[in-house]
């Protein structure tokens, strides 16, 4: 690449900088920027790094709580779990890179989120991957899904961080823009959390890890543009991940953290060296001077602009105490990693970039990291809502064979067993996995304590499309319900907000409403937001995806013995439904799979009721005698009950159950009313379950008993009977059948 001789309005526009933004840059600098500086501003002020469209809304989310040690603003959130331990977690998107090159896009997404976690001093112990694709029968979506899953497996397995759960949903809405969100959780001693701060004037700045190439230049601005016909041509920006190098970085950085040498540390992710250096200086209230001539390079002829903007993977930037350089370098060399002093902390608040003796950029660090533009973009309620909300579902034809409908739903890709996917991921490493993928939440024990952690990821794009506010609420509520069903108290969330182009008022309105809903639910359920990620511009050829906020929820089990799964355990156990079923078919999986409709309003969610239902479930689990607990969600009560029967093959456990309620049978069976949990308990515990539900004012109905090798469901105007073997076949082979 050659440096252009002049900064023209065209060049500024190509960098995604508006004339107003350019005027601000000139005010900050007191002059025109040079080419390198223009590049630096363009990535730091891009939507991806600056959150310029979302900031005003994100500020409304609750971020404080008793156990929150670090909220948004650092590489990841930190939550105290007692016993001197803290958990560090975050979720991010890698949608755009995965669309361009699915294998490497997903792989580097995993690598990036893992770096965010060990940067804080935590050992990464678990990954979750919520994924969204177009229908898998379509060639392109299939190619993307295969590539993404293989990329996650290749990177996560090799680097040695188990993938303990996630989601896979398919819908036409994601055909032109898949979603690849990645969640990582780590564990650290509470007194040894590290922050991405540069302090102590004169302290050396050390560059560690892979050499710098031209990978991913302008990755950050790419994520801030929508796809068009030419985006496949923009492919040379693809980064390649090296999980082996990342494993070495994890071990070496954690070893450095055990010494007292480290002052601050940040990984070079989006916007690479630029972002890590100016953010560390800005947070530390200092400046940083770096010399690009010392940066290890993989390619020749790179100009300063390229070195500053490169997104080569597996690189870290450290600030260490003066005098410890030798000790730190030796440690990295033990792990065969390149480590080079590239600069020092200064007191002038500037990011000063030199190439040898020549200063090639000089910008106030705070201006880049904190003083980016903030927009109150116009909002407008989308017109489609009038139509979807008015859809009359009362005239919907009732399918004749409800048992076949149940089998169809169980075999549909969104409900069917995801084992074909998660068996490609190591989900057992570290000997913590007490509940494997496939139940409501994964449960990990916390070694050295009696405690456990429950992890779940959730988000329903269809609900959010039909009512963004309710969709945001429901995502939080369902994720919380998932960890409650595993026996855990919901602690806190991270989120990944996947939306279309925020410059369109309808998209901005969806975003504002969804965030408002999430905030209300987080406040009601006392699960603060510890950080996350916003991914805008998820559009192809002007069509946005369903607005898809995804919640990563972490819950705490005080006693790992309370870990509970969704599957029935013993003949003779009594099955209860906590919560209430209403005639709500809007936005349901049933409506989509059977009637091909995505209309109506999503199920109504009363947050007080939600909290009470969760409270009852937790209390009955803690009191002992609960064999299983399962959230009713996609596919409704009938699907939830069928899933409870998915026990060990050939040792089937069915149930004979009566579903009370006066409404259309399909609504009773497949409607997705919120705040419902199915529990099965030992027969001697039935009275205490009823008493606890009464005390919290939660409806609690005895449905029947576990036993036999058939699932029998009876109710007003219907009766269906299916062998558990048939249910298991439909559910177990659904995904592989969809992939054929």
């Amino acid at each position: 690449m050659h440096e252009p001789s002049a900064i023209t309005p065209d060049l500024v526009a190509q960098h995604g900088i508006t004339p107003e933004e350019y005027a601000r840059i000139r005010t900050i600098l007191g002059r025109d920027p040079n080419f390198t500086e223009l590049g630096i501003f363009s990535v730091m002020w891009s939507e991806h790094c600056s959150y310029k469209s979302s900031r005003v809304y994100l500020a409304e989310l609750p971020t404080r709580g008793d156990c929150i040690l670090q909220g948004p603003g650092e590489n990841a959130g930190v939550v105290d779990i007692g016993d001197g331990l803290a958990i560090v977690f975050k979720m991010e998107s890698h949608n755009h890179p995965s669309f361009i090159e699915p294998f490497q896009g997903a792989a580097t997404g995993v690598g990036g989120i893992i770096r965010d976690i060990f940067t804080m001093g935590a050992r990464p112990i678990a990954l979750l991957d919520p994924l969204r694709f177009g229908p898998l029968t379509k060639g392109k979506s299939r190619y993307l899904a295969d590539g993404v899953v293989a990329g996650i497996a290749a990177y996560g397995n090799a680097v040695g961080v188990p993938t303990v759960g996630g989601e896979l949903c398919v819908s036409e809405t994601y055909a032109g823009n898949p979603l690849v969100n990645v969640f990582c959780l780590g564990i650290a001693p509470t007194n040894r959390i590290f922050l991405a701060r540069a302090s102590g004037e004169g302290n050396p700045v050390i560059y560690v890890g892979a050499k710098t190439g031209r990978d991913g230049i302008h990755g950050a601005t790419m994520a801030s543009e929508t796809f068009d016909e030419g985006s496949e041509e923009r492919r040379p920006t693809v980064q390649v991940g090296d999980p082996f190098k990342e494993k070495l970085l994890i071990e070496a950085c954690l070893e450095v953290m055990e010494t007292d040498a480290l002052v601050g540390i940040q990984d070079m992710g989006a916007a690479g060296l630029t972002c890590s250096s100016c953010e560390m200086a800005s947070r530390g209230g200092t400046g940083i001077e770096i010399d690009l001539a010392r940066v290890p390079r993989r390619e020749t002829g790179m100009i300063p602009y390229e070195v500053m903007l490169s997104e080569s993977q597996e690189r870290m930037l450290l600030v260490v105490r003066r005098g410890t350089e030798r000790q730190v370098m030796d440690l990295f060399h033990k792990w065969d990693l390149d480590a080079v002093i590239v600069g020092r902390v200064t007191g002038d608040g500037l990011l000063r970039v030199k190439d040898g003796e020549r200063v090639v950029a000089e910008i106030p660090a705070v201006a880049l990291a904190e003083e980016g533009p903030v927009y109150h973009r116009p909002v407008r309620r989308p017109a489609y809502l009038t139509e979807t909300e008015q859809a009359d579902l009362s005239g919907l034809s009732l399918p004749e064979k409800l048992d076949q409908v149940l089998l169809d739903l169980l075999g549909s890709p969104n409900i069917a067993s995801k084992q074909p996917v998660w068996q490609q991921y190591d989900h057992m490493l570290f000997c913590n996995t007490v509940v494997e993928p496939g139940s409501d939440a994964a449960v990990l024990r916390v070694q050295g304590t009696r405690k456990g952690l429950a992890l779940a990821a959730d988000g329903n794009g269809r609900y959010t499309y039909l009512d963004p506010y309710e969709g945001g609420k429901l995502a939080v509520a369902e994720a919380a319900r998932n960890v409650v069903c595993a026996g855990a108290r919901p602690l806190a969330i991270t989120n990944c907000l996947n939306f279309g182009n925020p410059e369109r008022p309808e998209i901005m309105w969806q975003f504002a409403e969804a965030v408002r809903g999430m905030g209300d639910a987080c406040r009601a359920l006392q699960t603060p937001v510890t950080g996350g990620n916003v991914s805008f511009y998820n559009e192809t050829l002007g069509t946005a995806i369903f607005p898809t906020p995804i919640v990563g929820m972490v819950g705490l089990l005080e006693d790992i013995a309370h870990a509970t799964t969704q599957r029935f355990k013993a003949q003779g156990d009594v099955v209860f439904l906590l919560g209430e079923t209403r005639e709500e078919l809007g936005g349901s999986e049933y409506l989509k799979v059977v009637h091909g409709l995505e209309v109506g309003r999503p199920p109504a969610l009363d947050l007080t009721r939600e909290r009470a239902v969760q409270q009852v479930c937790l209390e009955v689990i803690r009191a002992g005698g609960v064999s299983s607990a399962h959230d009713c969600a996609d596919g409704g009560l009938a699907v939830a009950l069928a899933e409870c029967c998915m026990t060990t093959p050939k040792a089937w456990l069915g149930a004979t159950l009566t579903l009370p309620g006066e409404m259309r049978p399909d609504a009773l069976l497949f409607g997705e009313s919120a705040s419902r949990i199915v529990v099965s308990v030992r027969p001697d515990k039935t009275e205490s379950v009823r008493a606890m539900a009464r005390r919290h004012g939660v409806p609690c109905v005895e449905l029947g008993m576990v036993g036999g090798d058939h699932l029998m469901l009876r109710g007003q105007g219907f009766s269906l009977r299916l062998s558990v073997e048939a249910i298991h076949w439909a559910w177990g082979t659904g995904l592989s059948r969809a992939l054929k």
């Binding site: 361009i100 090159e101 990978d215 693809v238 390649v240 090296d242 390619e299």
Partner: protein, 84 residues
Amino acid sequence: MLEAQIHVTLKKSVLDPQGDTVRSALATLGFPGVTDCRIGKFMLLRLAEQDPAKAKTQVDEMCRKLLANPVIEDYVFRITEVAG
């Protein structure tokens, strides 16, 4: 009979972690003289097509569509006559 010999390698500008790791392993083993190592795939295809020019067009298309990933890989091939 015509045979296509195809080499697929990562593009020069794309990081090759495997090649780098092998290069440093060779250095450790006492071969410090290897300045670069790139690892790729080698494929041999037997073709029914008799005409070398047509075969070339076909193989080129195969490479672009399936055998190489144009996002990150380059390919070269040659077509030779072999004993059936």
